[in-house]
């Protein structure tokens, strides 16, 4: 076999030999295409699989763990939520608008295929630093990518009517040639109506519904499994085009046939297109599938069986339907103006048999395609850079002007308000968004009126996090911290954290140092999940996030994006992020007496220009204490915001910058440490809360009882001025000016 042909399919010679051995003959071209797509890293998880096994996936409230289109957790005795996050990194660098748009569309259909009404989306984005635009060689400017991605997300989400209620936007040069676009969606459903990607009987019809199939996105999965080089531009045709109007009709049609009990299983067409969906359907049903490609509605003439099988045209779904319901399903699909056709049926052969105009063009055992993909135990080695970063000593840092440093950190693009981004997203459609973008977590009601009717008194809190810098500096501790941070953002609303979904964005797995990072980080994440009792119920792995330049290779920071979901008994009880009233006391709780460390902080990067230092272990016992304290006293806690990116001072200032009001702050922080360390440390488990004066003694006593650090550090004031005494330093600044820096910096840069 010609290696060029193999490499075009993303297969190695070894893998080809394995295929021949598995099927007992040489595969034909169509079959090779199927293997190429299904055995790609993107579909088969061949490098990551062994490490994903460490994740805890079960809890009494988990109704569906990993392995389906999305995970499902129950919310109360009747209702559940389905959620998942997925990457669309590679397409978004090549074609930012459509790359991001189809990422949103794809994750919405994953949620839909579980039988859930998609009710909110999140987007976690990483770009190069736009301040470096014009200074890079062979790498595109960041600004046009940011604009394209944000517009693409808005285009799809706004049109299809799923509110984009939160996310993150982080800027760092490591992402310049390989931005990250991770899209999350959450849907609501009745507990007893979960759909899965499977048929229930032999002889059930497979009905394909949605958009007609075109030549777009052929080999998208293979592309997503290779590193980036200057040739990537030529891969533009591999990027799919999104059509949210079709997507919207597909949502309504699918929920209607589900509501009417006309289908038994559902699967969306994602990576590896028709080949992927039908074979996975067969594998999960433990049956064979027989498909007839001439029945597939096509958008272009002259498409070959190979192209039909591997096209990643968007907005298509596969239903398993009992024969007697087929006519009704087709009728409903057509009433929505969708293409619909019976394209095959389930069989008892456990084979994937593909016919085209009477000719059998592929005949493969399903297990060979889906289950027998190679699994690699890739070599791993501790990265050399860690010796250097670990040897960093913060005491060597020069002293700086604190007032200037505060201004610099809060106006860094990563810390500054993301209003420019979320104003472009409809975050209110669905009338369920109780806590809107700009807070630590979004809070969403669980109500819907039509297809299906859902009426829970509860709400969910959702937050995403993924500080790649921490994971780069210590994959194990960093991985742990990313989980803790996402979960903390959920519990500070007063919610009970239930589960997480993750998207693991990594560099080239063939590099042993990258694989070591992967092993360590997944271990750290798993340990945190276990201790916090928040299992991983779904997710996705994106490898080869590497930029190949003529003179070097740039790998992204190992970046796990974690989205945590928790439940609130009443949406009215959600604790806001913002201060509520002048005169209230600002209190820090948690590790208030611990020595501050600015390793890996935004301050270190922005003010001292370095990413370095070791990452200390996170204190999960302290997290649990804080979680219990906040939950028990949620009616007395008037606001809560945690210390993370940008450190303590950012966590104290941001709650004063509410949309319509700017508060002042009068603060006294007693410390023996350097004020910059105290103010910019991101490593301590601390939450900044505000409480009324009358509740202060009670809460302080409660915290003491639980051995939880509790320090009142000042008061919220009316005049928008900052007065801060820290150790022997005193700082005065205008809160209006600080707010304006924080609010407008990103907008001005972009």
């Amino acid at each position: 076999m010609d290696e060029k042909i193999l490499s075009a399919h993303g297969l190695t010679l070894e893998e080809y030999k394995r295929i021949v051995q598995l099927i007992g003959r040489e595969p034909n071209e169509v079959e090779l295409g199927i293997f190429g797509a299904l055995w790609s890293e993107h579909c088969s998880y061949k490098s990551s699989k062994p490490f994903l096994k460490v994740f805890p996936t079960e809890a009494p409230w988990v109704l569906q763990g990993p392995g389906e289109n999305a995970g499902v957790v129950e919310i109360d005795d009747k209702y559940a939520v389905a959620f998942k996050i997925e990457s669309h990194n590679h397409p978004s660098y090549i074609e930012p608008f459509h790359g991001a748009a189809t990422g949103v569309g794809g994750i919405i259909r994953d949620i839909l295929s579980m039988g859930a009404r998609p009710v909110c989306a999140f987007d976690s984005l990483r770009f190069g630093d736009p301040r470096n635009d014009g200074k890079r060689n062979s790498i595109k400017d960041a600004k046009p990518i940011v604009h394209g991605v944000v517009e693409g997300i808005g285009f799809y989400g706004n049109c299809i009517g799923v509110p984009t209620v939160g996310g993150e936007v982080v800027f760092d040069e490591v992402y310049a040639g390989n931005p990250l676009v991770n899209a999350f969606c959450l849907g609501i459903l009745k507990k007893d109506r979960i759909f899965r990607a499977r048929a229930t009987k032999v002889g059930q019809k497979m009905v394909m519904v949605g958009s007609a199939t075109g030549r777009d996105g052929i080999h998208g999965a293979t592309m997503a499994s290779a590193e980036f080089s200057e040739e990537s531009e030529s891969k533009r045709p591999n990027v799919q085009i999104g059509d949210p109007f079709f997507g919207k009709r597909l949502v309504e049609c699918t929920l209607e046939v589900m509501e009417k009990g006309l289908i038994v299983g559902c699967q969306d067409f994602g990576a590896a297109g028709f080949a992927g969906s039908t074979s996975e359907f067969g594998a999960k049903s433990k049956m064979g599938v027989r498909v007839y490609l001439e029945n597939v509605p096509l958008r272009e003439e002259g498409m070959t069986p190979y192209e039909i099988l591997l096209s990643e045209s968007q907005e298509r779904m596969l239903y398993a339907v009992d024969e007697e319901n087929v006519e009704e399903v087709l009728k409903i699909a057509k009433s929505y103006g969708l293409e619909a056709a019976v394209i095959g049926e389930t069989t008892d052969t456990n084979r994937m048999e593909v016919f085209y105009k009477g000719e059998k063009v592929a005949d493969l055992p399903i297990s060979a395609i889906v289950d027998d993909a190679p699994v690699y135990n890739r070599p791993r080695k501790e990265p050399e850079y860690l010796q250097k970063t670990r040897s960093f000593e913060q005491s060597t840092l020069p002293e700086v002007n604190i007032k200037e440093a505060i201004r610099k950190v809060i106006s860094s693009p990563t810390i500054a308000s993301k209003e420019w981004v979320y104003r472009q997203y409809d975050h209110e459609v669905g009338i369920n968004t109780v806590v809107k973008p700009g807070s630590d977590a979004a809070v969403i009601r669980i109500k819907w009126a039509v297809k299906p009717e859902i009426n829970s008194e509860k709400a969910v809190a959702v937050s995403s996090d993924g500080n790649g810098r921490w994971v780069y500096l210590d994959p194990y501790e960093g991985g742990k911290r990313v989980v803790v941070e996402a979960v903390r953002n959920v519990y500070i609303t007063g919610a009970k954290p239930l589960a997480i979904t993750d998207c693991l964005n990594w560099g080239n797995p063939e590099n042993p140092e990258i694989m070591w990072q992967f092993e360590q980080a997944t271990k750290g994440m798993a340990d945190a999940c276990r201790q916090l009792n928040t299992p991983v119920i779904s997710g996705n792995v994106s490898l080869y996030n590497e930029t190949v330049l003529p003179d070097k290779r740039i790998n992204i920071y190992p970046t796990p994006t974690v989205v945590a979901v928790g439940v609130l008994d009443r949406p009215e009880d959600a604790i806001p992020s913002f201060y509520q009233e002048e005169g209230d006391f600002v209190v820090i709780i948690g590790e208030t007496d611990k020595q501050p460390i600015v390793n890996g902080s935004e301050y270190l990067k922005e003010v001292h220009g370095t990413v370095s230092g070791s990452i200390p272990p996170v204190n999960i016992e302290m997290e649990k204490k804080m979680m219990a304290f906040i939950h028990e006293n949620r009616k007395m806690i008037k606001s809560a915001h945690d210390v993370s990116d940008g450190g303590l001072i950012t966590a104290i200032l941001e709650p004063a910058f509410a949309e319509e009001k700017t508060f002042g702050l009068d603060l006294q922080i007693e410390t023996y440490h350097r004020p910059d360390f105290e103010l910019f440390d991101e490593m301590r488990s601390i939450v900044v809360i505000s409480v009324s004066k009358s509740d202060l003694p009670f809460l302080e006593a409660k915290a003491k009882e639980k051995a939880l650090g509790f320090k009142a550090i000042g008061q919220v004031t009316k005049e928008p001025e900052l007065h801060l005494k820290i150790g022997n330093y005193e700082i005065a600044d205008s809160m209006e000016e600080l707010k304006s820096l924080w609010k407008n910096s990103l907008k001005n840069i972009l």
Partner: protein
């Protein structure tokens, strides 16, 4: 009172509007498919927000040529109440039930935010529960909300009290900074000459429960009930 909420392919605020009328106003409400024309038994038709037909052509254009919109024209002629919200407003201008047009926002971007509005005419079926000059806070979310109308028509509309809502700041000042999309004279909502057809870019259905941050949309919805009673 019997409400009908139009459902065009791509409408996405149809269910929200339906839910608010059913669960908050507790009134009779039905969804109406865009292919239907039998609507005489309704007292008020609402054209909801969203992206009818994907808005791939000019927003509202395709929806304005559907059987349901044809029936709504006759319905309006009879003096019955028609209200278009966001995309619904765009459909009403495209169907010539309202004067003017909605162009892309002047900054070229979609904008989603809570917006202050000043009630310019409180003597209409849609604002009789407000006072003239009252400030309402109601969310907007649109890409094409930049209202335009020629000067002659505008003067006539102003003389006839057809300018119902304008974008303003929290104190009611009509300023350029308070204008989210470049609309001429900060116009956010207008009616036809007879005042039985009303179009507005803000979403009253998103401002009908305190938990969502504002209940000011109820002033508009309750005005309709009051007018009909």
């Amino acid at each position: 009172m019997k409400f009908g909420v139009a459902v065009y392919p791509g409408s996405n605020c149809d269910y929200d509007t339906y839910r608010v009328i059913r669960d908050v106003l507790k009134e009779d409400v039905q969804l109406i498919d865009y292919r239907r024309t039998d609507i005489d038994h309704y007292d008020c038709i609402i054209l909801p927000g969203g992206f009818s037909f994907g808005d791939y052509l000019r927003p509202g254009t395709l929806a304005s040529h559907t059987p349901l919109t044809g029936a709504i024209k006759d319905f309006a002629k009879k003096g019955k109440l028609v209200i278009g919200i966001c995309n619904g407003f765009q459909i009403l201008t495209e169907a010539h039930l309202l004067p003017g047009a909605l162009m892309p926002n002047i900054h070229g971007k979609f904008v989603c935010r809570h917006q202050y509005l000043r009630v310019e005419n409180a003597d209409t079926p849609f604002t009789n529960q407000c006072e003239e000059g009252q400030i309402l806070k109601i969310p907007i979310a649109h890409h094409d909300g930049n209202y335009f109308v020629d000067e002659d028509t505008l003067r006539k509309m102003e003389d006839n009290g057809q300018i119902i809502l304008r974008y303003c700041d929290e104190f009611g000042n009509i300023t350029e900074e308070a204008n989210p999309n470049g609309s001429i004279r900060n116009i956010a909502g207008v009616s036809n000459e007879k005042k039985n057809v009303f179009g507005l870019m803000p979403h009253p259905e998103r401002a009908s429960e305190s938990i969502l941050g504002t209940e000011d949309g109820l002033y508009i919805l309750r005005s309709i009930l009051e007018y009909h009673s």
